[in-house]
């Protein structure tokens, strides 16, 4: 085998040997699955408004319904399969937040209901709530100062 002489030929050699980066495919899957989840949310939202709910209540209903669907799909082990396929497409929407609570709740059941289910539920959701709620309190305080 010939020694590799220049960085350019080395790069060509690496490109030839390494598998194609699946990043484009990952982004495409994340795009359409994420878009679809948001569209399902939009249809629920418009249905709530059609039934006469105001905007705030309608978006709360959307969150609750999407979280409920995620809990069921996680429970029957379908959500993880969709998640493997879609990557960020399922974990960036509110479904990801729900899955991050439901999935460890089921997995750590064997460690008991208090320190297993109750505590491990928040391994991922805890940080999200800590930073989200802290940011909201700070923003509220700044609003108080500005008025």
């Amino acid at each position: 085998m010939n020694p590799i002489e220049t960085p350019q030929t080395y790069q060509e050699y690496v490109n030839q040997k390494s598998p194609n980066s699946p990043i484009l495919k990952n982004c495409f899957n994340a795009f359409w699955v994420g878009g679809l989840i948001c569209s399902i949310g939009q249809i629920i939202f418009e249905f709530c408004q059609y039934q006469g709910l105001d905007q705030t209540s309608a978006s709360t209903v959307v969150s609750i319904v999407l979280i409920g669907i995620t809990a069921i799909l996680t429970g029957i082990n379908i959500f993880n399969r969709i998640g493997k396929f879609a990557g960020a497409g399922t974990f960036v929407p509110i479904t990801g937040f729900a899955n991050s609570i439901v999935s460890p709740a089921i997995e750590y059941k064997s460690e008991g209901y208090v320190m297993g289910v109750g505590a491990k539920m928040f391994t991922v959701a805890g940080p999200v709530l800590v930073f989200g709620i802290s940011a909201s309190v700070l923003i509220g305080m700044i609003t108080c100062l500005l008025i």
Partner: protein, 128 residues
């Protein structure tokens, strides 16, 4: 069906595209950086809260509806929006109440459904 005729399909398309694009940002962060998914979720919520606090995120919500509210950035923006509205009415007390109050439905649903799911579902056995 009257309801199907009442749907704004142009808005639905914008919702699909914007929601998808936000997920692509998440996917790029996941593939191109070494951030774990938990960190990415924290970044999304905080970014949403800041954009919501500055009033920028509301434009995206007006444009794309659930395409902007369903991703976690929308959760952050919702927290910020609630905190601002309550602060205007109740002052410092509102800063503490407002955010969680608007997000209460989602948080309570996730905790409750998570607990119910743990009662019913069996943990899957990991293949060694």
């Amino acid at each position: 069906m009257e309801f199907l005729q009442s749907i704004d399909y142009w808005l639905l398309l914008r919702c699909f595209v914007v929601g998808g694009l936000i997920c692509i940002i998440g996917q790029l962060l996941l593939d191109k950086t070494k951030l774990t998914s938990a960190r990415i979720l924290v970044i999304f919520v905080t970014a949403g809260a800041i954009l919501g606090g500055l009033g920028i995120y509301q434009y995206l919500i007006d444009f794309a509806g659930c395409g902007a509210t369903v991703p976690l950035t929308g959760f952050g923006a919702n927290l910020a929006k609630g905190a601002i509205e309550a602060s205007k009415e109740q002052g410092l007390l509102g800063a503490f109440i407002g955010g969680v109050k608007t997000a209460a439905g989602g948080i309570a649903a996730a905790v409750f459904f998570g607990y119910i799911a743990s009662l019913i579902a069996k943990p899957k056995i990991k293949k060694q």
